[in-house]
Symmetry: D2
Subunit: 297 residues, 4 copies
């Protein structure tokens, strides 16, 4: 990573701004674009340049994007005219989007002579701010080599998952599905425990101390035990977005996912009951509400 790369960065949400900042700090020349101006100013203060339009950002050598979802990527970036005019030679899409979008995007980029890399990440914004993301990357090997310095700046480790970009999105969708499954199982177990006189913190302590070391069970378990869901580190509505990505990928590939169906119903119920903007750990409230604790209210 000698000279630094010429990077366009599109999408400065809570994740994107931290990731772009890491690129600036690592010495890359970064021009940033965002729908709203505030995060642009913050990045410029760190040494980035402002791009007035998406097209301007796409004039950089390498483009990294971190937009909200399939709809945002489609409307902002999957545009024939935009791609025809872009001088970028590779686009690294780091958003959590559907495998199906990745396939479409890769095909469209190829027609315009632009390489397409899918590189969704694991880790929340505090992890992004520390440059410690885990990056799930797939695309042509030479392209992955070229953008490796960017991954090094943003992440702690990169999993290279082959040449087909959508495979990285499948990995990300699968990982989030497994994560939310763990939270739901913990929620149901908590409801069962509490209805039998075992406090949630005792259950969580023994699970985290025996079978399940690591941050997921201890961390979400603590939120569940303390019923502390605000502010949300991972909003419940985004959990539903992720579960729907899994279900849609399952539909496309003809793979039934009964656990994902259970998650969908529980998340919807949480949203119906006002927990959509709280942490996804609030799934535990749905489990509690369904049992005698809910009946007693």
């Amino acid at each position: 990573m000698t000279a630094g790369l010429d990077v366009g960065f599109i999408g400065l949400g809570s994740m994107g701004r931290e990731m772009a900042a890491q690129l600036v700090k690592a010495g890359h020349r970064v021009r940033v674009w965002n729908r709203s101006p505030e995060p642009v100013a913050a990045l410029v203060a760190l040494g980035a340049q402002a791009a007035a339009t998406v097209a301007e950002a796409m004039a950089a050598d390498v483009v990294v994007s971190m937009l909200a979802d399939d709809a945002a990527v489609t409307s902002r970036l999957l545009d024939e005219q935009l791609l025809a005019g872009a001088s970028a030679t590779v686009h690294v899409n780091m958003a959590t989007v559907s495998p199906e979008l990745a396939r479409r995007a890769a095909e469209l980029h190829q027609r315009h002579g632009i390489g397409y890399v899918a590189a969704p990440v694991l880790g929340r914004n505090d992890v992004a701010a520390a440059g410690n993301l885990s990056i799930l990357a797939a695309g042509e090997s030479s392209l992955l080599d070229r953008v490796a310095p960017l991954f090094e700046a943003m992440g702690r480790q990169t999993y290279r998952l082959g040449e087909r970009p959508e495979v990285a999105n499948v990995a990300k969708v699968s990982a989030n599905f497994v994560l939310i499954s763990a939270i739901e199982a913990l929620s149901e177990a908590t409801a069962l425990a509490e209805a039998n006189g075992l406090a949630a913190d005792q259950l969580v302590e023994l699970l985290a101390g025996t079978l399940f070391p690591g941050p997921v069970y201890a961390g979400y378990g603590a939120l569940i035990a303390e019923r502390r869901y605000d502010p949300a580190a991972f909003r419940l509505v985004l959990g539903l977005k992720d579960v729907k990505l899994a279900l849609d990928a399952g539909t496309e590939a003809r793979v039934p996912l009964p656990i994902a169906s259970v998650l969908r119903d529980a998340l919807l119920e949480g949203i119906a009951h006002g927990d959509g903007e709280r942490d996804v750990a609030a799934l535990a409230e749905t489990s509690r509400r369904r049992g005698p604790a809910g009946g007693a209210r």
Copy 2:
């Protein structure tokens, strides 16, 4: 742990024999009983005494039992005449049984002046052989103090969960439910990944390397990726036993457990397809069979 306790040990299955051996090694005087004679001989070779009958084992000061399930405990131990004649002052039931059985057993023992401690364990037989079990214990505080030397001999850590014995069984049932949920989520995610060209070992590596450190995801994930289910460390039929304990506890407490219902159906399907005696990781085969991989056979 000076003088050692006078212990009767009932039930020398694959777990019980290892646990009893630890007690002998720790210097306790142990008289053992088992339905079949072979494991008794092995323990006697280590220094234990053989009890010819359950009643003889119940003549020790402290009785530890490790039987297969509710039915075995009920038929062997929950007998008015047996308890009336027993000189034991405390019975530590370490089997995975229902909270409902624990309640009945505690009440029955109390009528006969015998203390009742529930102390199910986490860990398989290799863990038991190393004296490294995690012990989930509940019962009167003074009783837990008395049998603590036994727990120290058999386990690496003891979670004390209060005075009501059944709470320890709830904890054990909940823990196994969360465990099997994790395996099923991993199974479904694997089927989704494989149908999209992501190999199971890649998925497992990234899950275990990021969100889920510890033995469960890496260990069961490896079995799933390699489709290696024999010999079973934790048989699928026992998984169904545990899930039914969770569902029954949920029924009793009026707590719906939709994930447990999914597990039940998947485990039954596995048994119907001949996987009952294989490792519970064979849940992955049910997930695979339901999707295009199964259709292609």
Copy 3:
């Protein structure tokens, strides 16, 4: 049906008393036994004789029983001593019990030289009072012929389902499972409709007027639309009993029943929220509660 049969009738609950009354009216000689005396007196007023003990009822030529569940049948009737002393030559068990109990009972009766017929019924107490039950009967052909006059008195039609008694219980369990599935589907559809501005009575009217003629959809649909669950014609707790019979039969036969699992969870949730003694149509309240109508309360 010339001379009438000599019948012992055991169990005069809300169904049994109506059925026994039909037998008396049809000219059979009936001696009745019940745990509590009131219904016995009512039957005696109609012309029945009172049996002081179960054994006395078992001294009749044909015994009909209509007890609450597996536990009641087991404790009252599946007794070696009782059966050894009985002079009855055939026992017709009309209760809704498990196929597994039917197998055990048939084997036990055979050992004592008593024929065993399983003949559960479809229809509620008003239908029983009109002698219009549908009878699902299985057992040896000659036995079914012998008790046919009793079926004619109690029912409008008899389905003969072969020689193995438990098959009749499987039929009954299956029918109730399909029934409760219909009610749950109607409940979920109602919640969906109402959340979108379609009134339940409109939905029910069009379903009953097109795809689903007959009493089930129109009848339960009306209860759901009017939210009228008291007094219960079919109590929600009995719905759970029936669904558990289906799940248990599925477990025994290794047949996953995902719809039954959904029913179980919904029924449990209804009981947790105080609807256990209301009509099973109150499943609709659980569906409503889970959605925005529940969140808005």
Copy 4:
């Protein structure tokens, strides 16, 4: 219905061609459009006129459309330019589409001064050929009055469901969801029955003869009992389309639909195993395959 109306009919699939034919026979002046020419010729032979373009069909006074799904309606009809140029004063959309599309379509038509009526139907093509459909209609009252002669020609009965078009689509989606739920319950019950020695035709006979008169249980039950799924009257893939419409409507309205989730997984599994083009009754094969009958293959 004196003079007959001037009607444009768009979409002559297996349903549309029968419906358009009824309009011609009833004396309406019908100009028809279809993507492929064959069905147009057949209608012209009956007395209809051919419209060369969708716009030509939209020049009629009243437009009726019967396209395949949301995507077809969106691409063919929800076009600003097309609607701006249309002289039609009312558009009756009889396809099974999402409530969400109905909302969008109604708003778009209103902007162009065209009335929008949603009128999906119940009944398959043989029912359509006999003019016996059940029509679920919603829209402005005056519009419903105007097109009533068309409904009379095509249907046996019309349910008027208020002024908001999307409510008719909710009704249709709900009805199909309840229908497919019944088929799945029947499938699971059949698997349970067969595994216990009760033949499917016996189970179906008693269900149809007692609780469930009418064509659904008897008809689908017969297909299931005879394992006769070809040719399909209602293809399994279309069942999945309908269930997804229900799930999507549930997502939008925050109404969990656990039975619909079970249906989704079962339908996907059927498609994965090659049953997509068979009748939806082939759900029974998925239930059978999951149990011991599947394991024994």
